[in-house]
């Protein structure tokens, strides 16, 4: 090695290796990386977009939100995320759920919460408007919703630049549930019976197990 090789970066690229002022010897490395980048950020996401959901809810299916809380999604809607009760095919058996149908997304997030449903709704509004969606705003006063199983929650409509919807909050067995349903206004209105049914189906399995 000599001093000249140390300074090679300052020198002009030898003419036989030059293309548009660039050193052609660097091309294989650079093009390999660009190829991987395009595959990762363009091709694979497009494949994901091109594949439709095809996991419809069958009659009798229930989704487990926690070890003791379940709900019954509308038959025919697609399960985009969530764990069916009783399948036992995975090490994880419960968690948040997303089902989609009739142009509406119905989402239930489950996590620990120590408080009342009204406090949970306040907390959700405070966090959502301060973080993910500054335009998130609940409309009017919350209404009480009582499920046939006797669990009491609160429900409210909300508006956001990302779309309008309804939001409900429950606290069952120490698990807070944030229920959101959103989509274009017409579809949301048309699907409101299904949304109401799904909210009403939320129940604890604790007593029945006991």
């Amino acid at each position: 090695m000599s001093i000249t090789t140390k300074d090679r970066d300052d020198r002009r690229v030898p003419v036989e290796h030059r293309l548009l002022g660039l050193d052609k010897r660097s091309f294989p490395y650079a093009f390999f990386v660009l190829g991987v980048f395009l595959l990762a950020t363009v091709v694979i996401p497009r494949i994901n977009d091109a594949i439709d959901w095809d996991d419809p809810v069958q009659a009798g299916d229930q989704l487990a939100l926690s070890d003791t809380v379940v709900f019954t999604p509308t038959t025919g809607w697609d399960v985009e995320s969530g764990y069916r009760v009783g399948e036992g095919g995975s090490a994880v058996t419960s968690g948040s759920a997303v089902v989609a149908g009739d142009g509406v997304i119905f989402q239930v997030e489950a996590d620990t919460f120590d408080g009342t449903p009204a406090e949970l709704l306040d907390q959700i509004e405070k966090v959502t408007s301060a973080t993910d969606d500054p335009t998130f705003k609940v409309d009017g006063d919350p209404a009480t919703v009582t499920t046939p199983a006797g669990d009491v929650g609160v429900i409210q409509t909300y508006s956001s630049v990302n779309g309008d919807g309804v939001i409900a909050a429950f606290v069952i067995d120490g698990t807070g549930l944030k229920v959101t349903a959103y989509g274009p206004p017409a579809q949301l209105r048309a699907a409101s019976p299904e949304i109401d049914d799904m909210i009403a189906s939320i129940r604890s399995t604790k007593e029945s197990a006991a």
């Binding site: 090695m1 093009f31 991987v36 594949i51 996991d55 764990y83 069916r84 995975s90 966090v127």
Partner: protein
């Protein structure tokens, strides 16, 4: 031993060996990042820019609300990363990687690999799997069927760019292990922070600081098996697979190391699926840790002889001139000779002096390489240090 130094003949075999070793190894070469003629430079800058933009878009909405949680996560994950950084610098003993190269590796791992590549492609892959194989399969296997491909290739891309930016510096299997570890460290530190930052929103954002501390602690606790291990194996494999001026191509070994890095990533990510949620999860983690470090040790051992030969060749004129003895050089390189050397020291003080002497001989190697074989002030000082520490060792004995 008392060394009487005589200048080696410029045309001697020893000087020729040194010259060839410096040429092939690239030891002493400086790293220049700004290379406008090099397409790799522009690709690095562009993809880092995309990564910064994506990272900002991701964190910006939440950074104000969860500032406390984010700050504590950054401090904890930063400290963990710094500890690993110091350890990696410590074990980087042969051709010490230039600081600029290390920083370029760390930044690639932290920003473009995570936010430029992994976040987008992981989201897409985790969208494809449940559509094709259902939710239960996804819960057990999707992570391990995603990250070993997407994240390892994202980190490998940084290594490939550094090969294009510094072809003379990144060319031995040992370079692959060390630079791969630094790229992986950048990725791991930022990923740990990302997990901790995301955890601020759990439990509906009721305890952001507590959750950030808890998640940081969890990530730090398992950080000993992480991206640095996986990337070290993958990048070392890439060097064998591609072959360089200093490392003849070994396709089989290269593929084996790349697959090993991906496999350990898989077993780590899918430990829950492999163990089916029971105590077996812990067993899977312990086994993959033991196996992972065994393979890493084998890879380091296989990479050693090449570096040892460079040290011998670079120091050949010093041995010829009598500054060093061949036994002293062997004491630095050869594990058996080192043990014998250590055993022959009668007490703790002498053992310590021998250790310092070995370190001084390595310093001399680096100074000779930095000077390109010339006789500079630094080299003379390093020689004087060797002589001084040798005298200390002799007195201690």
């Amino acid at each position: 031993m008392s060394a009487v130094a005589t200048a080696p003949d410029a045309g001697s075999d020893a000087v020729r060996r040194q010259r060839e070793a410096l040429e092939v190894s690239g030891w002493g070469e400086r790293f220049v990042f700004f290379q406008p003629h090099n397409l790799c430079f522009w690709v690095y800058v562009a993809l880092t820019g995309i990564g910064v933009f994506q990272a900002w878009s991701y964190f910006d909405p939440e950074i104000g609300f969860y500032a406390g949680g984010f700050a504590i996560a950054a401090v904890l994950c930063g400290l963990c990363g710094a500890a690993w950084f110091l350890w990696f610098r410590h074990i980087d003993r042969w051709e010490r990687q230039p600081g600029g190269l290390v920083v370029a590796g760390l930044i690639w791992g932290a920003i473009p690999a995570t936010f430029g590549f992994a976040m987008t492609v992981n989201t897409a892959m985790l969208g494809i799997y449940p559509k094709l194989f259902g939710q239960d399969w996804t819960a057990d296997w999707a992570a391990g069927a995603t990250a070993p491909f997407t994240e390892e290739s994202a980190k490998l891309c940084g290594f490939i760019l550094l090969m294009g930016l510094a072809p003379r510096l990144v060319r031995t299997a040992n370079d692959g292990l060390v630079i791969g570890a630094f790229i992986g460290l950048g990725f791991a530190a930022f990923e740990d922070f990302l997990y901790a930052a995301n955890s601020t929103g759990t439990a509906f954002g009721t305890d952001p600081i507590g959750n950030a501390v808890h998640m940081s602690a969890t990530r730090i606790a398992v950080s000993f098996v992480s991206h640095p291990l996986f990337s070290a194996l993958v990048c070392c494999g890439a060097i064998y697979l591609l072959g360089t001026a200093a490392q003849p191509r070994r396709v089989g070994r290269g593929i084996a190391l790349i697959l090993a890095g991906m496999f350990f990533h898989f077993t780590w990510d899918d430990a829950v699926g492999l163990g089916q949620g029971g105590a077996a999860v812990f067993l899977v983690m312990v086994l993959s840790t033991i196996l992972g470090f065994t393979v890493l040790a084998i890879a380091f051992r296989a990479a050693g002889p090449r570096e040892h030969q460079f040290v011998r060749d670079i120091l050949a004129p010093e041995v010829e001139a009598g500054t060093l003895t061949a036994e002293e050089v062997d004491g630095v390189l050869d594990k058996k000779a080192r043990k014998q050397f250590k055993k022959s020291a009668p007490n703790h003080k002498a053992k310590r002096a021998c250790k310092h002497l070995r370190r001084a001989i390595l310093d001399l190697t680096h100074d000779v390489a930095d000077a390109g074989g010339a006789d500079t002030d630094h080299v003379q000082h390093a020689r004087a240090e060797v002589a001084r520490l040798r005298a200390v060792a002799a007195t201690a004995g």
